[in-house]
Symmetry: C2
Subunit: 458 residues, 2 copies
């Protein structure tokens, strides 16, 4: 059974960001090294050897995501991702995953604001077959009107179970919509329900024809295979597909200056606890000045990641006003990154108290910076995560695939541990300026019945 | 000198809404009556006789506005409106207004979210000339690259003087951007500055070619002229222009359900006073159930228009917490309407007090309705405005032009006084449900320095 995934920012940070853009220190020379080349049709290929077991992970990344959807068709990128598991001339309806499964492999796919990716993990001798199949559906997708409508019910149900039944997810959507004034990151990846309900076969095919092409894709293969083997296989499969000269990156609306902080309050009786949230727009690895995104990664680790972080210690340990408090930085966006804080206040504690304490923690770092000990501990934490994730073939493939798709280079990725290790305490202190309240939204979730329009209870 | 205008919602309500969709009671049979017909090329023509003086008002309304702009090109509708005063084959650069002026006439133009309109007021014997000129620039606009760039500086300067130098206008923009989650009404008509700065001749021509055509326009002529005279002149001018089969109404993204009220706080040292604002998305005349928009017009008149309104009496007269308080309903949007309240609190009065009192006034009407006396007074007030505005030829033309352009019919417009007169107190009470806090944004403006990013003052 497929569990195709939709990456919102949060899972991304807990999962992918750390996976894809992680560090550290003396590891610079010990990590795996990628080989890259480009086919004449524009397909960018990256091979990362990992010979510990006779398996390979094969991923195709398209440089298109939810943020590229035509207005009014939100959800089409993710919908198309689902539909890619339907038929081509060669593969019968719904057969794709069954074939991978019969080969003893696993497959899946996911969609985020900037990317859409498909992957299979198979034993190395099965690689030719999955490459043939993935290349086939890059341009030969066949969509039956009736199947499209059936699958639309699937994504609508996915939305119901993931968002509509989850007050935190509803708040996340509302926060996103308020955080950005113009940029399409404001629209949820899964789509607005009323727009999803109108998505058609024609919408899906138009999106597919416009964005799915070798010159808009990156192939990442990790595992027990050499670059030369991959090149030969790729030439025989993807290499047969002509470049599509009409593919071009969508120019997305940029943010105007932010003049006023936003606030939202969501009341939902299904919410378990009162929770407090804040998000800031920040630079991403693609948009930041050199070293700035690395400093933000370290800053948020020190400020808000885990029980030794400043925010947790202040709110949970010292002041005892909250049962939970933390935050994260996501630097993997093509056009911007995001910083978030959250807390679950104890009963009777006002949200304003939570806010005041978190702002106090931030102000303290802005004024006095972080300690050398905190900085070293944060770097070491990334090192541990990095090693752990390098150990996982799929994580390794995602590290390269995600970063390359949003505009980083192999060099950027491989020198990341080195760059992170060079970040100074002063740089971390300077990065606090990105916690700019004017570029933020603050949200609260209350386990209460929502306000009713006046008169509706009378 | 041209003072071409940009209609934001506020001027619209004070000016146009009242002008274009106004009432009342026994006037139904006394107002002027329009004659309408359509040319074979799709141009919809409306003639409203007014023979008191030998003058005519000639307006062309295009069914396109800022809400139809391609993503990333905000401001192009208004920019094109400016550029329409440049050259055609027949009219030299900048000559259009000079010619009208030499004919003893006046001309102008304006852009709003749903419409773009051009008008001239001339003596009746000059009508053939202005029709010839307006028809000419409907399809024959010639844009010189250099002139486009010069005019771009003009609109950027317009933005600076109207918005950037005006904290209230900045707040209005931020309120709009937070009120709508998906619909393009969230984008300011004048455009976001960073997008305006990139608008090109190509953008303007693409917008022009896509939307300016006889089958996307409505010609309204009021004044000392018969429908037959207008028909002959129109056939000889506009009638020569072929229909453009590619013109179609842009399908604009619709709003998802609103789950959480938004709040924003703008600090600007240039603000004179602390002010409080709230806006709600509401039905418009085009989207409301029968009678509902009329009830909203009356409700807001009673609640919030002028010193006899409930909000003013409560806040300014009785509680003495504010020097000003009021509100309005704008029902002229194609896709939705808007309700707004505002107040200027006295020194020392918290915003929360203002909010509580206004919510109290709303709750009281929700529970007990309005009095018959209030209702009659509100209807009479509309009657007076209606008569006053009917007296003005340009207002009369705008009444028809605006309403027709956003989807009303001549019948809708002319039966409006009758429909308004039939609204009952119960209907007004029921309309309070549209003051739905979940579909609202609340904003405050403070005369203070904006919050700085942490560390930026250290």
């Amino acid at each position: 059974m497929l569990t195709r995934a939709l990456f919102h920012i949060r899972p991304l940070i807990i999962g992918l960001l750390m996976l894809s853009l992680s560090p550290v220190t003396s590891l610079a020379q010990t990590g795996p090294r990628a080989t890259e080349f480009t086919l004449p049709n524009g397909l960018h290929i990256v091979v990362v050897p990992d010979n510990r077991a006779p398996v390979v992970t094969h991923m195709v990344w398209y440089r298109v995501g939810a943020a590229d959807e035509p207005p009014g068709t939100s959800g089409i990128a993710h919908f198309l991702e689902h539909l890619m598991f339907k038929a081509t001339e060669k593969i019968g309806t719904g057969e794709f995953s069954k074939i991978v499964s019969r080969l003893g492999g696993q497959d899946n796919a996911f969609t985020a604001q900037d990317i859409t990716a498909y992957f299979q993990r198979v034993s190395k001798d099965r690689l030719p077959k999955v490459m043939e199949m993935e290349a086939d559906r890059m341009v030969n997708l066949k969509l039956d009107e009736k199947e499209v409508l059936t699958e639309r019910d699937v994504i609508l149900e996915e939305r119901r179970s993931r968002v509509e039944n989850n007050p935190s997810a509803i708040l996340d959507e509302q926060l996103g919509a308020a955080l950005y004034l113009a940029h399409p990151y404001r629209i949820p990846v899964i789509g607005w329900e009323h727009e999803m309900a109108k998505l058609s076969r024609a919408d899906a095919m138009a999106f597919y024809k416009r964005f799915y092409a070798p010159n808009n894709a990156i192939l990442v293969v990790t595992g027990d295979v050499t670059p030369e083997e991959v090149r030969k296989l790729a030439e025989a499969t993807y290499g047969k597909i002509p470049r599509n000269p009409n593919v071009k990156t969508v120019e997305r609306p940029a943010e105007p200056p932010h003049r006023a902080a936003r606030r939202i309050e969501l009341k939902d009786p299904r919410a378990g606890r009162r929770t407090w949230h804040r998000q800031y727009i920040a630079p991403s690895y693609t948009t930041a000045a050199p070293g700035e995104a690395e400093a933000l990664d370290l800053l948020l680790k020190i400020l808000a990641s885990g029980p030794t972080s400043r925010v947790y210690r202040k709110l949970v340990v010292e002041e005892k006003v909250a049962s939970s408090a933390g935050g994260w930085y996501s630097g993997s966006g093509r056009d911007s990154g995001k910083i978030a804080f959250f807390s679950v206040p104890n009963d009777g504690v006002e949200f304003s108290k939570i806010e005041q304490l978190i702002d106090g923690v931030i102000a303290e770092v802005a004024a006095k910076g972080v300690t050398q000990e905190e900085l070293e501990r944060a770097k070491k934490a990334y090192l541990a995560e990095y090693i752990y994730q390098t150990d996982n073939q799929a994580s390794l493939a995602r590290r390269y695939g995600w970063a390359l798709t949003v505009g980083s280079t192999v060099k950027d990725i491989e020198e990341w541990p080195e760059r992170l290790s060079q970040v100074t305490a002063d740089q971390v202190k300077a990065a606090v300026r990105h916690l700019d309240i004017l570029r933020s939204v603050t949200g609260t979730l209350l386990p209460e019945a929502p306000d009713q329009p006046p008169g509706s209870r009378s």
